[in-house]
Symmetry: C2
Subunit: 181 residues, 2 copies
């Protein structure tokens, strides 16, 4: 990819992230983004079809290393942690220590699109590790319902934790989560 393209992409991403932490997703206009990024209008539209696509590509940029990491070395993908699957504890830690972006996006308003993306990824994680939680499932309820429940509970827990300023350690909040389910 042309160096110019990489440059403008990054300028746009940075401007967008900055705006996301200042105002609702719906309230952000393409005009504001390009003004802050110092980029022509036509340039923006040659990179991204719409604002929604910008968000989508930003998610891939920011989180694909987390969710899609193969076991190929020294990245910090979710799958490369303490052998036996404290994936979710790892995620709490990751959010606390590195990932201000997840914090911003998960608590920003009018951002159904991101929540949908994030929930989709987390659902995949739980699906792959469903057996680790299957013993907690009451026998009577359907598995699809259970999957939806633990995923939602995880995300709500994470959101609550972020919104109340992350006063607990990742370990404590992870135990809260385990006690809920």
């Amino acid at each position: 990819m042309d160096r110019r393209q990489r440059k403008t992409r990054e300028l746009i991403f940075n401007a967008f992230i900055l705006l996301l932490s200042k105002k609702h997703y719906n309230a952000i206009t393409v005009g504001e983004i390009i003004e802050l990024a110092n980029v022509g209008r036509a340039t923006f539209y040659s990179h991204f079809e719409t604002k929604d696509f910008l968000l989508k590509e930003l998610c891939i940029e920011l989180f694909s290393h987390l969710f899609n990491a193969e076991n190929d070395g020294d990245n910090d993908g979710i799958f490369n942690c303490d052998i036996h699957g404290n994936v979710f504890l790892h995620l709490f830690k990751h959010v606390k220590e590195n990932d201000n972006n997840i914090r911003k996006l998960l608590t920003s308003k009018n951002n159904e699109l991101f929540v949908e993306y994030f929930k989709g990824e987390v659902t995949k994680l739980f699906k792959e590790r469903l057996l680790d939680f299957i013993d907690k499932k009451p026998a009577s309820i359907p598995q699809e319902f259970w999957l939806n429940h633990i995923t939602s509970t995880f995300i709500e827990t994470l959101r609550w934790w972020i919104e109340t300023k992350m006063k607990q350690t990742p370990e404590v909040i992870y135990n809260y989560f385990l006690e809920l389910i």
Copy 2:
């Protein structure tokens, strides 16, 4: 209130509800609403400041009888049910039998505003009846967190039920809910 006002209010509400079941909240324009309602543009704006206010007033219109009913007779407010507080079972029943509007609104896209309203009302209900559920709370977790959790779980359960076409009876889905918490 002038009969003319009541008439246009109802025309607008009906048009809005119809549109909500056909497209995303964000995609609905004032132009469409007034065209469908057969009402002048100026009239719309003399009734409602913005589309968001329209939604807000629609919620009050549709659900205040549910959530704010005092014990004053033959309404079907949430508080006027089987003495000992199966409020939530009652809500499941209500949604299944009478309330196509909650169904539409709770599963419509780009409708954070409604979900926020609905969650607020349900949170109030749980807060007033927290003692009924307090014995299910693990000792270690904070009460505010617990309140948020059972509220979210209730709403997610309701949403899942609606989205999967309400195949279970209200009693069964209510038991699912109880087993989750």
